[in-house]
Point group: C2
Amino acid sequence: MHNYEVKRLLVNYKTLEEFKNFREYGSAELSMKDDLEANMIENDSESPFYGIYFGNKLVARMSLYRIAGKFDRYFNPPQDYLELWKLEVLEPYRKKGYGETLVNFAKSFGLPIKTNARQGSSDFWNHMSFEAATYDASRDRGESPFVWYPAGVKEQQTDQELINVESSEEIN
Amino acid sequence: MHNYEVKRLLVNYKTLEEFKNFREYGSAELSMKDDLEANMIENDSESPFYGIYFGNKLVARMSLYRIAGKFDRYFNPPQDYLELWKLEVLEPYRKKGYGETLVNFAKSFGLPIKTNARQGSSDFWNHMSFEAATYDASRDRGESPFVWYPAGVKEQQTDQELINVESSEEIN
């Protein structure tokens, strides 16, 4: 059992500098930096990121976003769920339970969780009791969705098949 | 100028075996294999993938999906557009124009294109006249969207701000 403390990350220059240590650094981080510099958001605003520090150093992080039930295409009954992404532990800190701690923290909200499994990560997600969702081309568009079902929640059947076909047709 | 031939890929055991050579192999490919094995789709059905062969070997591929205009949150005026993903060239065949050929093929449909740029690929996308879309947390959820605008098409303003806030709130 590990007892790492998970913190909600605040948007400030220190956090944004720490983010550069992570491989998955992209538009989300750059956008926060722009917003901070342009005073569009306040220093120390809450971000969608959660992380674990080793001393003063951010060594693991993930992003969580709550999606409203009316947009739920993964769970039955349809409900609010968490989208989890950018789960990453810095190289020298791997295999020490930081990733598990973050995922368990996400589960503690009691909501279903959906993530897009990176290439080669399915063993980790299975170990965390996630399952591969049945692939739906129009919904998943190349993602590898893995989901976690709290008690009483099941996979959503694709009874939306007709809507999908209408809404996203392949090129002919 | 390169003159590689781009082919629509058919779902059969040879194609599925070739897909294993690509790093981005996941639920989409496994799902096609399952459907083929379960006779849910016919041998040689069309796939959403396009590719380039070197002799008999598939050396580059991408996936294209046409998204209906009513779901368009990237372009102004809202319209049907192409989602491009899994653009990948096998390692020994890189820097020879295969990727450019595929992207130019995608542009030839005359529709706007949206892709999620992988870490470190922004130079390639800029070279292909794509631009980073203004990041919108509720729409992009950690992606790094890059878009290509055909003549007469502009970026969609996030006048949907109110809808977003209502539909996807962060955890508090």
